[in-house]
């Protein structure tokens, strides 16, 4: 590191003359920011998960945590700011403008870029969602800074953000740092980080800034929002219990055994990549690096081998039960309970046993 201060000295090997020293004018960048994602009256819970992480990072750096809220003048941004304090923020930067009602890339990119240039945070976190990824890529390019996508762990190394993420389709992990640029940007997928505890006694202040854009400046128009029909939405990400079908179920017909167990438990049905690729279940049910990240209270994997790309999407589950014929399948390395046996035989028995057990309990309550 000290080499960079003496330009004549040899650079560290493997970095090919890259500047890894933070330039003087960027040293004043301080604080950890979270972009608070909201739409049609709701804050995406990923923003609060990030707030919990931001608090931990900021405490290590001894700097404040700030939330960033962009929205229309008739949206409850002050109420969202109060929630942000409860989850760990010290301050909220707020931009209210009619053109910020409903997410659009252009005004949001300008708004967030202007806020960063004005108030200079050292770290900025966003959810790895359709909104967060669209915005993060645009803002990082506009600012010319580093962005690490889909992080699974955030830490501080020295004074810099050490962002760990899966690489090579989830078969290995790598830690990425942005040393010579600010802010250091990172996105994190929903449910990767746990929800922080609420502290109702916390408060904070609001700093307002104007966007300085009018509707005619913006090329792209938001004509309508078409909500998903409720029966077609699969709420895998926030499900309490998930029963996942793997290729070990042999054929599409046997997937119904997973559905039956899920029904008894009031669970969602998940799938491995092989199962969605075979068309046995919809793509939106896929759990793993290229699918959803989940952390349910109970995860039952039936006929799932446990490839790393699947594992990174579910290993944070509280209780993992694996059913597989192969006692050496990697899924048993991360499961808490394992059944070495044929899922087609085990699933109906488990379903029946649970049904009679839970029925008794429900009758007791009623």
């Amino acid at each position: 590191m000290t080499d960079a201060a003496k330009p004549a000295a040899p650079r560290p090997a493997g970095r090919a003359g890259r500047n890894t020293e933070l330039p003087e004018h960027l040293k004043s960048y301080k604080g950890v920011w979270v972009f608070i994602e909201h739409d049609r009256g709701h804050v995406n819970p990923v923003s609060w998960e990030l707030m919990g992480e931001a608090r931990k990072l900021a405490d290590k750096l001894q700097v404040p945590v700030s939330g960033v809220l962009l929205g229309g003048p008739d949206e409850p941004l002050d109420a969202y700011a109060k929630e942000a304090y409860v989850y760990g923020a010290d301050r909220c930067y707020v931009m209210r403008d009619p053109v910020l009602k409903g997410y659009r890339n252009e005004p949001f990119t300008k708004g967030l870029t202007d806020l960063v240039n004005q108030h200079q945070p050292e770290i900025m976190l966003l959810g790895a969602t359709p909104m967060g990824r669209d915005l993060a890529g645009s803002v990082a390019t506009t600012l010319g800074t580093g962005l690490t996508a889909d992080c699974t762990e955030l830490n501080i190394d020295g004074r810099a953000l050490a962002a760990t993420r899966p690489t090579f389709g989830g078969s290995l992990l790598c830690t990425i740092m942005t040393l010579a640029y600010r802010p250091q940007m990172a996105t994190v997928r929903p449910r990767v980080m746990s929800m922080p505890a609420r502290d109702e006694s916390r408060g904070g202040d609001i700093v307002e800034m104007a966007l300085g854009m009018i509707e005619t400046d913006i090329v792209t128009k938001l004509l309508d929002f078409i909500p998903d029909a409720s029966r077609s939405t699969v709420n895998l990400t926030y499900a309490d219990i998930i029963v996942t079908a793997g290729k070990g179920l042999k054929n599409a017909e046997n997937v119904k055994l997973v559905w039956e167990l899920a029904r008894v438990l009031g669970a969602e049905v998940g799938a491995t990549r092989a199962v969605t690729q075979a068309g046995w279940l919809e793509a939106e049910r896929q759990v793993g690096q290229t699918g959803k990240t989940v952390r349910p209270k109970l995860y039952i994997a039936a006929g799932v081998s446990g490839a790393i790309q699947h594992r990174v999407g579910m290993e944070a589950s509280d209780v993992i039960v694996a059913i597989n014929t192969d006692a050496n399948a990697p899924i048993f390395d991360i499961a808490h309970y394992g059944i070495v046996g044929n899922a087609m035989q085990v699933l109906p028995v488990l379903t029946q046993a649970l049904r009679s057990h839970l029925d008794k309990r429900i009758r007791k309550i009623a």
């Binding site: 090919a16 003359g17 739409d39 359709p130 990824r133 890529g137 830690t175 004509l223 309508d224 793509a283």
Partner: protein, 282 residues
Amino acid sequence: MHIVVCIKQVPDSAQIRVHPVTNTIMRQGVPAIVNPYDLFALEEALRLKDQFGGRVTVLCMGPPQAEDALRKCLSFGATDAILVTDRAFAGADTLATSYALAAAIRKIGQEQAVDLVFTGKQTIDGDTAQVGPGVAKRLGLNLLTYVSRIVEVDLDGRRLQVERRAEGGVQLLETTLPSLITMLEGTNEMRFASMDDMLRAGRCPVRKWNKEDAGIEDLSKIGLKGSPTVVSKVFGPTPRSNKADVVEVGDHNVHDECLNLLQKIFTTHPTLEVETVERLSA
């Protein structure tokens, strides 16, 4: 209509294995494929070409062997293919990649103006979904990510309408050409390559551009040098310390062991049982 489709050649990650002892990736014999997400972008571009006429140029940055991926795209019906390849691009992160691709698209536009740029939603090796937005910002194109449907293109009026996937629904957006679209997966099905296109793909030259051909102006913005992110370490996942509580079952004990397991789980995690019962009775 002139459409540029950005593609990437990636290792088929479904076939990557980690060495159980050394925890390193075993890359031998892993086939290289066109990033599967990019095929949805290519098919959508080909459909617009079918409708409006014009050309589809596929663009790829990568090592010389990425030519195979471009030939694959030609066999599906792309008009021509450009491979941006230079050792100076090695080690590029998403910011440096978007700089190089944007320069190449600008160069392509000098031959014939570009109306639309397509990319896949993300790649299966990097998974970042950041290069598309980066290219759009650098070229000043209207950015439309996670597009699930192209509703209407009015080439003469220079307008287009798309549906964009958002949390809990889709946004209906209208914008002007030129735009950059990142296409959502599962939105269409790649056509079968025709015999004519397959033969043409074998003969058609893939143009190879080095950094000068691609119109790179600032060498400090490409490759490792132009990448703000630094990989500080690569490592394998740590195995869980406590081993699973495992039983082997067959015809003789499947009933008993399943009951036994439920008992164990509900005793160790009583709130799980209470919450499940509450949820089911609600």
